[in-house]
């Protein structure tokens, strides 16, 4: 995957970059975990397969980030150490992705919000100056393009489907839209890396993201939410109550039987 040699950074930047890559890793893992909860319970067999495919993409992406984060940290930790042995306050995923699956509409809305950000983020990252991050992004952006197509089409189907699907998707938007803002609001780490040119300028990504949302919502005959008070904190380790339960399950084996190989 790495044709170009790894980029070298100053120690300070390297520490910030470690935090940022870890944030990306946590985000992909938590979303993959949520999606994997659908396995065996999807609304129809064909969509069960689709959900699992998306979950596998995110899981693969998470592993690439964790491996890179471990490398940046240089303390000998592995991808599993990072995923399984950090507590909720150390997790850096935005609040959106830890929200429970709810009904299919909630899963679709959560996915659509994240896919919109994810796709546009990876498009920038793949052209970024850090060769390893760019390589991961280049691979993942193709997957993200497919995810965005999938979740966008489902928003349209549910919005412009039956009365019940419309009611459910509206309800999901009402409860999840407040987590959208955090994705494009840089925290301290992101700000520093934006200044160093390593993380894309989210403000510059917004017009394209908003245009996509507007186009999809128009076709779905749904109003784009306005003036929503945005929640934040996940990227700095302040989570909703849901993450603790999720990690309890995710980390069960490693916590119960410390230090073993599986």
């Amino acid at each position: 995957m790495q044709v170009a040699p790894p980029t070298t950074h100053t120690p300070e930047t390297q520490t910030q970059l470690f935090r940022y890559v870890l944030q990306l890793a946590d985000t992909s893992l938590i979303l993959a975990h949520r999606l994997s909860e659908w396995c065996g319970h999807g609304p129809i067999l064909e969509q069960d397969l689709a959900l699992a495919n998306i979950a596998l993409d995110f899981l693969g992406e998470a592993r690439s980030y964790y491996q890179y984060a471990a490398e940046l940290e240089g303390q000998g930790r592995t991808e599993d150490d990072l995923a399984y042995l950090r507590s909720a306050v150390e997790y850096r995923n935005p609040l959106l992705v830890e929200q429970p699956n709810g009904d299919f509409a909630a899963t679709i809305v959560r996915q659509f919000i994240y896919d919109t950000f994810h796709y546009h983020l990876l498009q920038q990252l793949q052209a970024g100056p850090d060769t390893q991050l760019a390589a991961i992004a280049e691979k993942s952006v193709k997957e993200a393009a497919y995810h965005l197509k999938w979740s966008s089409e489902w928003i349209i189907r549910l919005g412009d489907g039956t009365e019940e699907s419309r009611r459910r998707v509206e309800q999901a938007i009402a409860s999840l839209w407040r987590y959208a803002g955090e994705l494009t609001t840089p925290n301290a780490t992101e700000k520093e890396l934006q200044a160093a040119g390593l993380v894309p300028d989210y403000a510059a990504m917004l017009p394209q993201m908003e245009a996509h949302v507007a186009r999809v919502f128009e076709e779905a005959t749904l109003p784009v939410p306005q003036g929503v008070f945005m929640q934040k904190g996940g990227k700095d380790g302040r989570h909703t109550e849901h993450l603790g339960y999720l990690l309890t399950e995710l980390q069960y084996m490693q916590r119960t039987y410390p230090g073993l190989t599986w």
Binding site: E46, L49, A50, N53, K149, E153
Partner: protein, 95 residues
């Protein structure tokens, strides 16, 4: 209950450039776009394809097995359609 069953689609996959699309099975989908995506998720999880066709099953018309004799046996005795029917002298190359 049957009203909510998605229509059945037949799936054809080209496994690599240069080969024909080949029937691989069927699946359910609400529309053609979804049928293609479902086919991608169901039938190409192990790099089995580079191109997908889907056809709603109700649009496939098939020959009747009872006609098999009338349809296919007349070709049996037309061996002169095959190149091996003709003898070419050994000294003639490239034919």
């Amino acid at each position: 209950m049957n009203q909510s069953e998605w229509p059945l689609w037949e799936v054809f996959i080209r496994s690599k450039q240069g080969l024909d699309h080949k029937h691989v099975g069927s699946l359910h989908a609400a529309d053609a776009e979804m049928a293609i995506q479902n086919a991608r998720d169901v039938y190409t999880r192990r790099l089995e394809g580079v191109s997908i066709w889907v056809v709603e099953s109700s649009h496939v018309h098939a020959s009747n097995p009872d006609d098999a004799a009338a349809f296919y046996e007349p070709a049996n005795d037309k061996i002169y359609r095959h190149p091996t029917f003709y003898q070419v002298p050994d000294s003639i190359k490239h034919m």
